[in-house]
Structures are given as C-alpha cells and as structure tokens.
C-alpha cells in the first residue's frame, strides 16, 4: 500500500478491483465500513462474482476476469476527454509534460521495439527526448506537444470508449458511465479516491499493467500521496509484505535493490545499470544517488570485515543469476530434470500450483524434497496422495517440523508497511524448531563441509557474518537489530538510511528498515494507539506515528509531498498529509527534506525517489509496455476487440512451448466457460484444513455456478459436478447462485464459474471423505503461464468445461 489500512476511512470514493476485502481482509475491511458509515463514502466493487464485499458496496459491477485495464483505461479516457484531471497536479507532479522519443510507437497492439522471435521488447524507444546540453528530459509545460506524454496518452486511451470498455469488460455502457461520472468528480482538489486491489489483479498475464492502469488514473486525478488516496495493495499472508521487503523474490536484493546481473564486475557497473537516472534538473533522485550506499551497507552487513575497499566490498561474492529463477521457473527446471532437490518452507507447492498435476510431476522428478512445516501439507504427502503410484515417485521426502508463527516472536509487516513486533504466544510443540535455527544449523554444517573438503569459491560461505550470541540459534531480536544496521565507527544503531555510506563505515541488512531499531530500542514494539488519540494522532488523520514502525522512516503515507500544492498547502485543508508551516513540513513524516522551503528556487520535485522527480504516467520500468494496454488472458473465449491479431500479451513467457512440452492450453470450443479462483473468509488457503471449527464453516469443496447456466444443465445446489480444463479436473459439489451470471463480451454471451482454492487431499475434510480429496485441487485446472514482469501465474482467468456427475 502507498497508504495504510486506517487511512481508507479518509476516502470519498473507494474503487475495489481484483480484491474481496470483506472475505480476504475482514479486519482491515472495518475501515471501508467506517468511510461508508462516518463520511458517506461510496464503495464500487468490480468483480466477476457478487461477493460479501459487493453485499455492502454501493455499486457492484459484474466484470469479466482479466479486463480491468479496459475498465481503468476507459476511466482514464473519460477523465482526459472531459478535462476532469487535476490540472496543477498533472502538470507539476507527473511526467505528462515530458517529451517521448519520436521513434516510440504503438500499432495494432504492439509497442515499438517488439521482436517476434524472442517474444520481447527492446525498450530503447520508450524513453524521453533529452536536451543534449544537460542530458535532462525535454518538457512542454503546455502539454500540447504531440510527443508529450500527455498527448500520447490521450491518443492511446482514446480507443477506450464506453462502448469498447463495455464490449471488453461486459459492463453495460450506462453502468460504466455512472461509475465514470463518480470517478470524474475525484479530480477536484477537495475530493479524494482510493483504489484497493489484491491478487484479482496480480494473478494475470497482464498483472503488472492491470495495477499500473489504476495508478495512472490516480496520478491523473491527483490522488497519489494524499490521505484517503493512493494505490493500495492488500497483501497476503500476515507477513508477506515483510517477505517482499526482505527479497523473497529472486529478482531483488533486500530493499528492492536490483539483483546484480552477469557482467557487472564492480559496484559501479552495478549501480550504473540498476539505479534510476536523474532526468530533470529539479529531481532529487534520492534513490539513484544513494543506491551505492545502500548496496555497500548491505554488503558490510553480510560480509563484515571481509568486505573491504580493496575487494570492492566483496561485490563479487554476490550471485549474478543469468536467467529467471521465479516460482514457475523452478518447477519448469524440475520438469526438465535439472533440479536435485528443493526446500519448501511455509508453503505447499502441490496446492499452490499453477497446473498442480504438472507441479506434482515436477516434485516427483526431484531426488529429495524437504518440507519445513508445522503440519502435513499436500507437498509433504504428495508421494502418497490418492491416485499416486508410489513406485513412480523417486523423490525422498524429509519433513522438518518447524514452529508455527504463533510459536515465535518477531515482526509481521502488514499491507500498510507497518512492522509490528509480536510475542511468542505458545511454546514450541514437540520437536518443532524455529525456521531460522534450522537454516542456521544447515548453514553451519555446509560451512564445516567447506572447511574440511574445500570446494569451489568458499569465500562467500566462510566470510558470511553471523555475530549472534549463538550462531546456531540467532534470536529474531538480534536479526532485527542487524537489519537496521549500525555505524561501524561509533557502534551506534543507524537512525536513518540517509546517513548510510558507501565507504564501508556503515551496515544495513535492509536499508528500508533502517531506523526501526535504535539504541533506544525496538520501535516495532511501540503501542501508542487509540488508548490516547490526542498524543498518538494529533492531526486526527490516523497516522498514529507511535504505533509500531512503518517503513520508510515511520512514514505512513508514501509520496506525501504530493499531498500539498506547490506552496506546500494541503489540496484539501480537511485532509492534510504534510504541509509547509513556513519553517518546516508538519503532519506525517515528510517524504521530502524536512525544512526545504517549497518556494526555494532549488526545491526538489515531489516524487524524490524517481529519476524524473514526478509520477510516471509513461514508464519504461515494465517489459510489456510504457502505457497499460488491455490484452486477453492466454485462455480467453474471445479475440481482443482492440487488436484481434495481437489478442493476448505478446511477451508472456510460455514455459511448455519453450521447453518443447506439449501445449496445455485449451480453446473455447472444448472449454466454453471462463473460470476464476479465489478465497473464502472461512479458510486460509490450505492450512485451515487442519482446523475443525473452520472446516465446519466450509466443510466441502464446491464451485459457484451461475443460476442461468445451471438451469440449462439441470444442475442444482448440492449436486456433484466435474469442472475440467485442458490440464486437469476437479470433482466437487455445486453451489448454484444468481450472484454469478451471464455477460455479453465482444458480442458473445459468456459465463464465469467460481472456484474456491482451499481444498486438497490433506486435512479434516479430505480425511472424512471417501474420495480423500483426490480431485479437490483447484490448481489442477490453472494454466502454467504468468505475468511478463513478475511471472505471477494466471490463476484468475482460464477456460473450463462443466458437467453434472
């Protein structure tokens, strides 16, 4: 989230796309209700299904899964055509005025620079015209230049007429215009809208762009950086935000520094290719200019004394992967027989999918599989799952019992970036050990093996710092302290990443957490909350700066310089983010130099982390296009009405094709219905299959079937049905409902079927069922393909057939 949960109460209008907060984030949802109850805010929920969120929304729109770019694109077009955008903001706080290179183009669904053979773009042309003298981007503050971002954008989205939007999304024109009129109001300085999303947007081959299209709309309306505004991702597991911050995904180092690439020999090579470049004279480019300090401090945290100026602070110790190593790639490698073993901790690959049958095949190709978990999972049991021929499984499976999160202390980072320290609630059960102790133990043994047996390039292993009281049993408190980092000269904890150095005198395990654990103590433990609002929430905006700690630097709303106009006055005096009081910025922790006068001729532009210093309506940060464009899901019942010849994303990576495996995508002729998969309030993915009280609330797997379709097939609630895709099938019960229904897309009538994800062959339900949950894995249906940027699987849009059994 750019903002945070409590801040949603400050909104006038709430767009919910690709999220079902009432079911997936029920506690956070209280703030939506507060906005509705206390300030009469309107909630608009666009979802293929009428859900428990829709039930309390002011307006529910039945939208076709995978079509939100068209929805937001249509709103962008409406706002531009009717001049409803926030003019001062767009001119000064976005790159609307930047001039784009003349060779940038977009034709028939393809941006300039596309290569058919590599299915990828050369993005050179997606950049600005630069002034040779300064090297900075050229701008036209009148926004009239045909190659200005503003004009390009206007043309790009002019195709997204209400009729076009309707034909893509299935939302009738007049319903869409109703929404457009409401949204159009939100460009006024005294109005603010928030967009809330989650994996209903990310689980698509166009996931990245789906989100960007919302962000672009928010920039046009001047809602970025403002309380009650922003582009807000509701995160997943209680600590998935923390996982991401600490680089759980392969392409980053802690704090969203890029993973080094082959050929980068020195830190400078790395920074040159990774850091944002200053492209306007008033841009601070804070991230860019500090990139090297952040990296160096991380290296010092990792390699300590072994990281010296002479060895360029051990930059050569850091891996520089030559190829993608994301989720699906791992199983793709295993399918190719290129993997020996796998350690799964805190998740169950067999259920997660996509294409679970293929994933389970991949697991059975491994020599060994280690499952670190507190409970049996579909992965620890995959070799003896119903219908599995044990002799066909060569994998040796080890189960290492870990403590559950409730059996350890440490921090949870919520969607609002608050790092909240929690205590251990229960003592570890049985032989359970903490994950970090298991990993430390394994590491010590590997180190010992290197010591005795030598081996290729032992230095990164040998040099790694483990200065904990007991290196085999580090405490999470020690680790938190290390992550914050310290000044090696004074030995004091660092108070801000602004003071980090690139000369090896400071450390930071994750620079964005610097300032969370000071010499005065662990700020994540703070609990200055609603018991005393006067002290803890003086502005009444709900920042609660004394509650836990929020990265960066305890800032509650990111980009908050943009919450004030050029003079530093709040756009809306009733909802200030930060304001200039004549001598300093007050309110939230400013995302700006605390005492820099906005009237200073050298005052920085508002978005201090960007090279441009402003919000990017046009960006070369994505591999699939500088402007979000609607592409059909890989499995779609229709051709893209915008450009049938380039219907789906031209750059989505097709694993099976690349690996020469048979094609596993279905066509509408065999699989006539659209399916989407999702969560129910009553279960947490797969783990709650072990919780009897929750199993009682949703005891058996089911699929939600549109009433009209069910009638034509003679299916009634409670009947057993088979839902099949090109990849597999589920055999579960039917829940027939009018909450799902037909829609007209590209002139065709289509139905969407809903598939909850929670069941499998492990747990209370499966144990009590004669089939033992043999055909209960939702992901038996989903396609093995993902977003071109993040490679997030397309869990949310695929084709299926439906039969009564």
């Amino acid at each position: 989230m750019t903002n945070h949960w409590r801040d949603i109460k400050n909104a006038d209008l709430i767009l919910i796309n690709g999220a079902n907060p009432a079911e997936a984030h029920p506690v956070g949802f209280q703030w939506f209700m507060r906005a509705k109850l206390d300030r009469g805010a309107k909630i608009i929920h666009a979802d293929p299904r009428f859900t428990r969120t829709s039930a309390v929304a002011d307006m529910y729109l039945r939208i076709r899964t995978g079509s939100d770019v068209a929805y937001f694109g249509g709103l962008i077009n409406y706002v531009l055509q009717n001049n409803l955008f926030h003019d001062e903001y767009v001119r000064n706080y976005t790159n609307a005025s930047f001039l784009v290179r003349k060779d940038y183009a977009f034709n028939d669904g393809l941006f300039s620079g596309y290569s058919q053979s590599s299915r990828s773009y050369n993005i050179a042309s997606w950049s600005y015209q630069t002034d040779p003298s300064t090297g900075f981007a050229m701008r036209d503050m009148t926004l009239q230049d045909p190659s200005s971002v503003f004009q390009l954008m206007k043309t790009h989205y002019s195709r997204y007429t209400p009729e076009m939007v309707s034909s893509i999304t299935g939302i009738p024109v007049n319903d869409f215009t109703k929404v457009a009129q409401l949204v159009g109001q939100m460009g006024k300085p005294d109005k603010v809208m928030t967009i809330v999303y989650a994996v209903g947007l990310t689980h698509h081959t166009t996931g990245g762009q789906l989100i960007r299209s919302g962000a672009v709309l928010q920039l046009l309306l001047g809602n970025m950086g403002r309380p009650g505004g922003g582009m807000n991702a509701e995160r997943g597991h209680a600590n998935i935000q923390g996982n991401t911050d600490h680089a759980i995904s392969w392409e980053i180092l802690p704090g969203y520094l890029k993973i080094p690439a082959p050929g980068q020999v020195t830190r400078d090579d790395y920074v040159a290719q990774s850091a944002p470049k200053k492209s306007d004279q008033h841009s601070w480019n804070f991230f860019g200019i500090n990139y090297k300090k952040f990296l160096t401090s991380t290296l010092k945290a990792w390699y300590g004394a072994a990281a010296t100026a002479d060895n360029d602070f051990a930059f050569n110790f850091v891996p520089k992967p030559a190829s993608n190593a994301s989720w699906m790639t791992i199983y793709d490698q295993a399918l190719k027989g290129k993997m020996q073993g796998l350690i799964l901790s805190g998740m169950t690959a067999a259920s997660i999918g996509p294409d679970s049958n293929q994933v389970r095949q991949a697991l059975s190709n491994l020599k060994w599989l280690v499952v670190m978990d507190a409970l049996p999972t579909t992965s620890s049991e995959f070799w003896q799952a119903p219908g599995v021929e044990k002799s066909q499984v060569q994998t040796e499976v080890f189960m290492i019992p870990t403590t559950h999160w409730i059996e350890k202390d440490g921090s949870f980072v919520n969607s609002g970036r608050w790092s909240q320290w929690k205590d251990q609630v229960l003592p570890p059960q049985g032989q359970a050990r903490h994950d970090h102790w298991i990993l430390a133990d394994i590491f010590q043994r590997v180190k010992a093996l290197y010591k005795s047996g030598g081996g290729k390039f032992p230095d990164p292993i040998m040099a790694l710092t483990l200065d904990y009281a007991d290196p085999a049993k580090p405490t999470l408190d020690e680790i938190a302290k290390e992550i914050n980092g310290k000044d090696l000269a004074t030995g004091k904890q660092m108070t801000s990443f602004a003071n980090l150095k690139d000369d090896g005198t400071t450390t930071a395990g994750d620079w964005i957490y610097t300032g969370s654990y000071l010499d005065t103590g662990n700020l994540m433990k703070r609990r200055g909350g609603i018991s005393d609002p006067k002290t803890n929430d003086p502005t009444g905006m709900g920042f609660y700066a004394n509650w836990a700690w929020s990265w960066p630097l305890n800032r509650r709303v990111m980009y908050n310089r943009a919450s004030a106009d050029l003079d530093g006055k709040a756009w809306d005096a009733t909802r200030p983010g930060i304001t200039w009081n004549g001598s300093k910025w007050v309110g939230d922790v400013p995302d700006y130099p605390a005492t820099l006068d906005p009237h200073d001729p050298n005052a920085y532009l508002p978005f201090i982390m960007n090279g441009e210093g402003v919000g990017r309506l046009f960006s070369n940060g994505m591999v699939d296009g500088p402007f979000p464009e609607h592409y059909e899901p890989i499995e779609s019942p229709v051709q893209n009405p915008l450009h049938p010849t380039n219907s789906a994303s031209p750059v989505a990576f097709l694993y099976d094709k690349a690996a020469g495996r048979p094609d596993r995508f279905g066509t509408v002729s065999e699989f006539p219905y659209i399916a989407t998969s999702y969560r129910l309030t009553e279960h947490e993915h797969y783990v709650t299959q072990h919780v009897p009280l929750l199993v009682q609330l949703q005891p058996k797997p089911f699929v939600e079937i549109p009433y009209e379709l069910a009638n034509t097939k003679g299916i009634k609630s409670g009947d057993s049905v088979r839902v099949s895709s090109k990849r597999g099938k589920v055999e579960v019960q039917a829940l027939v409902t009018k909450r799902l229904g037909p829609m007209t897309v590209a002139g065709q009538k289509v139905y969407q079927i809903g598939i909850p994800i929670h069941w499998g062959y492990v747990g209370v339900s499966a144990d009590s069922d004669p089939s033992h949950g043999r055909y209960w894995l939702a992901n038996a249906l989903t396609p093995f393909v993902g977003d071109a940027n993040a490679r997030t699987p397309e869990f949310k849009a695929f084709l299926v057939n439906l039969e009564k059994i």
Binding site: F50, A55, V56, L693, P706, S717
Partner: protein, 267 residues
Amino acid sequence: MATQIKAGESYGFFTDTSVCIGCKACEVACKEWNQLQGNEATFLADSFDNTGQLDAQNWRHVKFVEHVPDQSATAGNGTAWLMMSDVCKHCNQASCMEVCPTGAIIRTEFNTVFIQQDVCNGCRNCISACPYGVIGMNPQTGTAHKCTLCYDRLQGGLEPACAKACPTQSIQFGPLSELQQAADVRLATLHSQGVTQAQLYGRDETVYGGLNAFFLLMDTPETYGLPSAPNAKLPSRNNLGGYAGAVLTAALAVVGGLIAFRRRVTG
C-alpha cells in the same frame, strides 16, 4: 468497547445487519470462548451457511439470505445478500423463562436471560416455547443450552466474545440505552440515504416487551426467520383458551357419564 460493565444495568446487543459481512468470526469466537465443539461438518449448499441453526453447539449463527438479482450491476448496500448474525434475543418477556418449570432460567444482574446448568433438568419446555428456535439440548449434559450473553465475561468486566471479534461493528455490545440511541441514529442515516426498507426489530416493546439483543434489519422480519411484531406472543396466551376448552369438555363429559350410569329400575 470501553464501557465499564456494572451489575444492575441492562446490557445487550445492537446487531446492525446492514454492515454484516458474513465472516462468521462471531460464531467462531463464541465457540472458542465457550468451548463448544460444534456439530458434525456438513455441506448444506445453502448460500454460504453450513451452520444451519442455533442450537446447543451454536449460540451464534450467521444467516445468509440471497436476494441478489441476476444482473450486471447491483447496489449491494446490505439489501441484496442479507447476512444476519442471529443469537438469543434476551427477551424482556422471555417465552423460555415463562414456561420453565424448574426455575433454571433466570434474569441476571445484567438483565440478560441465563440458563443455570446446575438447575436445568432437560424437560425441554423452553425449547417448545422459544419463538426464535434458540435453545438446544446437549445430550451429554442432559440440559438446555443457549447464549449466556457471556455471563462469565460480563462478571469479569469483559465484553462478549462475539462482539469483540466482529470486525465491522455489526455486533455492538453495551448498555441498552446507549445501543438504542446508536440504533436510532443509524436508522435515520440509512433512511436519509434512501434505504427505506431498513427497520429496527425488538428495539421497542412491540416484540416481547423489547429485546436486549435487537436488530437493524434490511428486510421484513419474516425474511430473516423472525416473527413479526403481531405474531410475537407469549406461550401463556393459550392458557385461557386451552383450560376453557378442557373445562367445557369436562362438564359435558361428566353429564354424559352421569346419564349413562343413571339408576334404572330393572326386572
């Protein structure tokens, strides 16, 4: 809720169904606090409800009523897919208490209706009387069970578990007077927003002298399986008619008998 809980005050619930999101946290919190096992898991294929009813194992039950029109755009507003967390109403005139022959059902110092487990002998008269189908028998204990309004928690100064767990404040706990004011305000807001079908149930005396656990409904009471005010009558209403019928019959029967057995002179 920061209310300080005192004996002698009337406490209850204002359950605002217009903001209920059917998350069932109340059901689970109640089971956890009161250590109820719940019934055997069964898929009811009835919207998202698999609990089915209030009984000895379920003292909270979230009802789901689907009236969602099959159309592309709908105003949810709490009126299309009704969700209501049902519970013992802690009636001011409690049918269960009226008929209980053992005196097991009492009114507590918090003006709530409570079944004393050490007094109840399992006759089930209360079950036949409760117009809301709240009470259930526990075959293990042989006694009747229902919501205690967390008697134990109230005595310990804690708000009820269900209310504490409710994320949307659909369940509001507090002194009845405060709740009634809150409800009136909420109703006014909804009406002003044009949600005219919103109505309060049990807030005034029209239903069993007023319910300590009263509701804001988004449709008619019957839609939620609640008797409408004119139908909300105490069991004792039938004493008179029943006994009158019996007395009349008795009189005629006696006469009949006397005639049949009258002395006759016979040879």
